[in-house]
C-alpha cells in the first residue's frame, strides 16, 4: 500500500464488496477502527439512501463497513456495487451537521462496580478516572449488539483497559462502560458484557414509547458529565415518566478527543 491516498487516508482507495448471502452485500471501506473510515461509512450510507436504489431494504453502518440488505427478487450484488461505485468517494458530511449529546453519569459505588478496579489498574484515584472519562468528546462509531447500544471512540489513552476475563451475563441498564480502547453507553436494559462498568446514566438510548425510540446514531458526538446519586435518581424518575432528559445540540468542528 504505497500509493498517495493510502498515506493520507487510512481507508481503502476503493471499497471492497463482500457478498453476505443472496440478500446482502458488505461494503468494506477500511481495516481499522478509525474516525475517517467511519465517517466515510456514515457518508456512504447517506449518499446511498438519497439515491433510492431499487430493492435496497436497509443498511447497517458499522466501524468500517456498510452492510446493504436487499431484495434478491429486485436487486443483485453487482447492481448494488455499481451504485456504490458511482457514489464513490462519498461527500464528507459538514461538521456543523453533527449532533452533540451531553450525557449525565452517576459514577462508582453500586452504579459503577468497576470504577475502583479501573483506578487501581492505572494507579489513579477514582476522581481522576472520572475526570479522564468526562474530559473527551467521544464519537459514536456504531450502534449494535443490543437496541441502542452505542460503541464510542475517543477514550483517553490512560484509561485503556483490557476487557474482563469473565464477562458478566448481565450488566445494569444504562451502564457506562469501557473495554480496550472503546467506551460504550448501554440501553435501559440488562445486557451481557465483558467491559468495565464505570457508572450508569438515566438517559434512555432506546425507549419504544418515544416517537424517536433511539437517541444516538453513528457520527454523533457524546460528552459525559458526572451527577450525584440524588441527581441521578431524579433523572431516572423524569426519564421513566417519559421526559426527555437529554437533547442533541448542533456541534461544529472536529471532536477534541475522538482520534484513535
Amino acid at each position: 500500500m504505497t500509493d498517495a491516498e493510502t498515506i493520507h487516508h487510512p481507508g481503502y482507495r476503493q471499497p471492497r464488496f463482500l457478498p453476505a448471502g443472496d440478500a446482502a452485500l458488505s461494503v468494506e471501506l477500511g481495516d481499522a477502527i478509525d474516525e475517517t473510515i467511519n465517517a466515510r461509512v456514515v457518508a456512504l450510507e447517506e449518499a446511498l439512501a438519497a439515491r433510492h436504489v431499487a430493492g435496497v431494504i436497509e443498511t447497517v453502518p458499522t466501524y468500517r463497513s456498510l452492510l446493504v440488505l436487499f431484495d434478491p427478487l429486485v436487486a443483485t450484488h453487482a447492481g448494488i456495487a455499481a451504485a456504490v461505485r458511482e457514489l464513490w468517494p462519498p461527500p464528507e458530511r459538514a461538521a456543523g451537521a453533527r449532533r452533540l449529546w451531553r450525557v449525565p453519569v452517576c459514577y462508582g459505588g453500586e452504579m459503577g462496580a468497576d470504577l475502583d478496579f479501573v483506578a487501581r489498574a492505572h494507579d489513579l484515584t477514582t476522581d481522576e478516572v472520572v475526570a479522564l472519562h468526562t474530559a473527551p468528546t467521544y464519537r459514536v462509531y456504531m450502534i449494535g449488539f443490543a437496541p441502542g447500544f452505542a460503541y464510542l471512540g475517543g477514550l483517553d489513552e490512560r484509561l485503556v483497559t483490557s476487557r474482563r476475563e469473565v464477562p458478566r451475563p448481565k450488566t445494569p441498564p444504562g451502564s457506562i462502560s469501557i473495554g480496550g480502547r472503546q467506551a460504550a453507553v448501554s440501553p435501559p436494559m440488562e445486557v451481557p458484557s465483558g467491559w468495565h462498568l464505570l457508572g450508569r446514566t438515566a438517559a434512555r438510548s432506546y425507549d419504544p414509547r418515544r416517537e424517536q425510540p433511539f437517541l444516538f446514531g453513528p457520527g454523533d458526538l457524546i460528552c459525559f458529565h458526572a451527577v450525584d446519586a440524588a441527581g441521578h435518581a431524579a433523572l431516572i424518575r423524569a426519564a421513566e415518566a417519559g421526559e426527555e432528559i437529554v437533547a442533541p445540540e448542533e456541534a461544529g468542528g472536529a471532536p477534541s478527543g475522538a482520534t484513535s
Binding site: 463482500l18 457478498p19 453476505a20 448471502g21 443472496d22 440478500a23 446482502a24 458488505s26 468494506e28 481495516d31 481499522a32 477502527i33 431494504i57 436497509e58 443498511t59 447497517v60 453502518p61 458499522t62 466501524y63 468500517r64 463497513s65 452492510l67 440488505l69 434478491p72 427478487l73 443483485t76 450484488h77 456504531m142 450502534i143 449494535g144 449488539f145 443490543a146 437496541p147 441502542g148 447500544f149 460503541y151 440501553p187 436494559m189 432506546y206 419504544p208 425510540p213 433511539f214 446514531g217 453513528p218
Partner: protein
C-alpha cells in the same frame, strides 16, 4: 367478532412471529421474525390471511389452547406435529373451522423442529417498531415480549370469511437437502482446509440451537490468524465461527452486529432447512455463487407462488398417516436429510 385464544399450555417455545423488524438493525435491533418464512406464508394462505400476517411459531412441543371467539379458521404447517381438535386427530397442511370452546392441542414433533400456526384474521398483539415478532432476549414485541405460557390470552383478529371453503395444501414442501451457502464475507479469515471442511464434512446440530442461532458439532474450522474482526453487520444465515472453531448459523433472533469472522452465509431459500434440523440432525453445506444464489431466490419465490396457487378445498378430513406424509416427502426429507427437493 374477535376474541382470544386461552392457553392451557404454552408448549416448549411458542412465540408470535411475522416478517420481523425491517429497517431497525442499524439501531441494534434484532430483526427476529419467523425462522421459516415460506411455511409462515403457506399457513397464512391456507386461512386466507395476507402472507405476512402474524402467526404462532411453535418449537418441538406444541401448545394447547381453547378458542374463546366466534368461528375462526386455523391451519398448521411445518414440522410433523400431531394436531388434535377436541381430542380428535386433525390434519396439518389444511384449514380447519373452529368454534367457541374448541380445544386445540399440538403434541411433540415426530420430525422437524418448527411449525407455524395461522388463525384467520391474525393475532392482535401490538406491533413494536413495525412488527409483531417476539424477540425474547430484548423482551420486544409479540405477547409481552416473551414466549407463551399457561393462562395467556392472545387476542385474535376475527375471521372475516369463516364460511369460506377450507383449503388444503395438496403437495406440502419438504425441507430436507443440503444447505446452500455463498462463501464470505470473511472466508479469507480461514484456512483453505477450513473452507474445504465446511463444504465437505458432515456437521450435526448441537444442543446449543435456538432462534438466535444453531451451533454445529463436527470438525473444527481453523482461522488463518486470530478470530477477532472489527465488528460488522450480521444477516440471517451468517455462519460465524468464534474462537472454538465450531460454526454457528445465525438465525432470526441474531444480534445486529458481531465481531467473529463469518466464513459463509446460508442463502435465504435454505434458512428453513436449517431451521427444521433438531439437535443431532445432520447438516451438509454446498457452495453456490452470488449469481446462482439470486437465481435460486427467484426460483424459490416462483415455487412459493405456485404452491399457494395450488391450494384447493381440502378433500378429506382424515388425520395424516405415515404413508401420506411419506408420499409427501415430508418425513423422508426431515429425517434423512436427503435432497428430495429436486432443486439444483
Amino acid at each position: 367478532m374477535s376474541g382470544h385464544l386461552r392457553f392451557i399450555s404454552g408448549g416448549a417455545l411458542t412465540t408470535v412471529q411475522d416478517e420481523g423488524r425491517v429497517g431497525w438493525q442499524r439501531h441494534g435491533i434484532s430483526a427476529s421474525g419467523a425462522i421459516d418464512r415460506r411455511l409462515m406464508h403457506l399457513a397464512n394462505a391456507l386461512v386466507g390471511n395476507p402472507l405476512a400476517e402474524a402467526v404462532l411459531e411453535i418449537t418441538l412441543a406444541g401448545p394447547e389452547f381453547v378458542v374463546e371467539a366466534d368461528a375462526v379458521r386455523l391451519a398448521l404447517t411445518g414440522a410433523d406435529f400431531p394436531l388434535s381438535i377436541n381430542d380428535r386427530p386433525a390434519a396439518a397442511w389444511r384449514a380447519h373451522a373452529l368454534r367457541r370452546g374448541d380445544r386445540v392441542r399440538i403434541g411433540t414433533a415426530r420430525g422437524g423442529m418448527r411449525g407455524y400456526l395461522a388463525l384467520a384474521g391474525g393475532l392482535m398483539v401490538a406491533p413494536v417498531l413495525g412488527s409483531r415478532s417476539t424477540h425474547t432476549r430484548s423482551s420486544i414485541g409479540g405477547f409481552r415480549g416473551r414466549r407463551l405460557e399457561a393462562g395467556d390470552e392472545i387476542p385474535i383478529g376475527g375471521d372475516q370469511d369463516a364460511a369460506a371453503p377450507l383449503l388444503g395444501c395438496p403437495q406440502p414442501p419438504d425441507f430436507g437437502g443440503p444447505v446452500r451457502v455463498v462463501l464470505g464475507p470473511q472466508a479469507d479469515a480461514f484456512t483453505e482446509e477450513a473452507v474445504a471442511t465446511l463444504l465437505g464434512a458432515p456437521f450435526t446440530v448441537s444442543v446449543r440451537a435456538d432462534r438466535m442461532g444453531a451451533e454445529l458439532d463436527g470438525p473444527v474450522l481453523a482461522h488463518r490468524d486470530g478470530f477477532n474482526i472489527i465488528s460488522d453487520g450480521i444477516v440471517n444465515g451468517s455462519i460465524q465461527v468464534p474462537g472454538h472453531g465450531r460454526p454457528v448459523v445465525l438465525l432470526a433472533d441474531r444480534q445486529s452486529t458481531g465481531g467473529y469472522p463469518k466464513i459463509a452465509t446460508v442463502i435465504s431459500a435454505d434458512l428453513g432447512r436449517i431451521g427444521q434440523r433438531r439437535p443431532g440432525d445432520e447438516v451438509r453445506f454446498s457452495a453456490v455463487s452470488p449469481e446462482e444464489a439470486i437465481a435460486i431466490a427467484r426460483a424459490a419465490a416462483d415455487e412459493e407462488r405456485a404452491l399457494i396457487a395450488a391450494l384447493a378445498p381440502a378433500a378429506d378430513h382424515a388425520a395424516p398417516t405415515t404413508e401420506r406424509l411419506l408420499a409427501a416427502n415430508l418425513i423422508s426429507g426431515v429425517v434423512s436429510g436427503r435432497d428430495t427437493s429436486g432443486e439444483p
